[in-house]
Amino acid sequence: MAGRNDNSWGHPGIYAGALLLIGVMLGPVVYIIIGGFRTNAQITVDPAGLPHPWEFGNYTNVLSSSGFWRQAGNSTIVAVVTTFGVVLLGVMASYVLARYRFRGSGAMYALFAAGLMFPVTVAITPVYILVKSLGIVNTLPGVILPQIAFALPTTIIILVPFLRAIPREIEEAAAIDRCSRLGFFWRIVIPLSVPGLVTTGILAFINSWNSYLLPLFILSEQDTFTLPLGVQAFASEYSVDTAKVLAFTSLSMIPALVFFSLFERRIVGGLTGAVKG
């Protein structure tokens, strides 16, 4: 009879389970980071061991190579411009959907909502053809423009409820003060919806930073590579130099991890809100 005892496992069991879980989830990540501090000889002799002695050459090598910084720069440009583009276009369209009443608003919402089900994967081949016919293959805008378009549905679906929640009294007060609707949008709506904009912006940034398939199709010249392409190229170029690959890989995941840990509450919180509906 367990009776009123809520917790038939006892606490030690729960903590042991939690520790095991963390070990399994973080093991591979820790392996990448630690492995970068070893030499290839160490890795060959004992693939799962600790660095002995610690070898910093791999990291300093990668950090002093121009390729890594160029790719990091490309990734940053693509992610930042994509993020700004998505958030700006998204908040404008969401404002219309949330605050204007017009024929076709239902169809417009349905259009973006349907887009949620089809990530860029499905349309990658024709997107490539489109980008090619626009003459922007092997340029960063060739990645940025499709990314903005494919990130719009998520952004709009998150932002519409946000903007609708702004009390109408504020809008009326603004109207009394002779503030136009567009003025209201820029001066009041945008500042009030900053939390929503940040959430959608982080999602767009991390997605862009990690995206692989689209850059793979659009960018074929080394100079234009983003980090995920760089990681793959590096891994095949230095396939015998495992330690260096590990160093390169762990350096390239830092920004997404930093962003995530800074804004983890917002991401997980936004998700909770999404499930609550």
Partner: protein
Amino acid sequence: MAGSLVIADHVRDGGGVQPPPPARPRRRGIGWAQRLEILLLAGPAILMFLGFVVAPILIAAYIGLYRWKGFGLPTNFVGFDNYVTILQDSAFWAALRHNGIIVVLSLIFQGPIAVALALLLNQKIRGRSVIRVLIFVPYVIAEVIVGTAWALLLQTNGAVNGVLRSIGLDGLTQDWLANPKLAIWTLIMILTWKYIGFAVILFLAGMQNIPEELAEAAAVDGASYWQTQWRITLPLLGPTIRIWGFLSIIGALQLFDLVYIIWGQYVSSTAGTSTMVTYMVNEGRNAGNYGYGNAVAVVLFVVSMTIALLYQRFVLRRDTEGALTGGR
């Protein structure tokens, strides 16, 4: 990636075809000034979306009817030949079968494990919020990085086999990636590791919506912890689980990055881990047959769409009904 989080909301609302209720009725009709505002504000987003999302799908349907190497205009009209070739290609059916296996096994593995972990993390234990963040880490790291790491870990002389040898389990060492009997299970394991955090966070969020009074009342009636979870938590978590199932299925149908990174261009079909998208990339772009690649894209679109609609019709419908009748 993380963007799919919010789909949950949209899917739960029954597919989102119904427009959101307007914030409030406008008192006056809309004049030209308002029309202009609407156009200015919504125009750019609509143009981008039509241009880069809707148009490509139409382009694919058109180019899929041609044999085209990607230079100049498609002129060699072949009708439905590309589609006939796809349906006669055993490699495509193999990829489709792998997708099917991945869909089913992802649900079977990730679902129960994630429910168990969510129950574990729903307990009042110290450091719970830290654990929640940590199990989400694999989900945030790029597929390319995760794939590169696992490919190194799982080599025949990699760390996984190294650990097994060092603890005396030499018999368990395997060729995890190339053995065709094993490779798909390896893939399932990696997918579980990568995406379980997402399921757990979803389920935890769902559990927080279950009123605590229910568990308290059950405890007063003498229900054990497990009885409470089985009879109260799980049934009430049903809608969240079904939404997660939808997202998991769509993701599994469009799996590409991990397979392509770990198994590369050539090995995935012999190892038995090829997917529809790796097939599309290999036979279309890599082989230079853009007409064919577009036809595969259309097939992929139709398969995903069909499964999405069937799932909404037969599985998610209950949730929308409940939402309507339950006065949600």
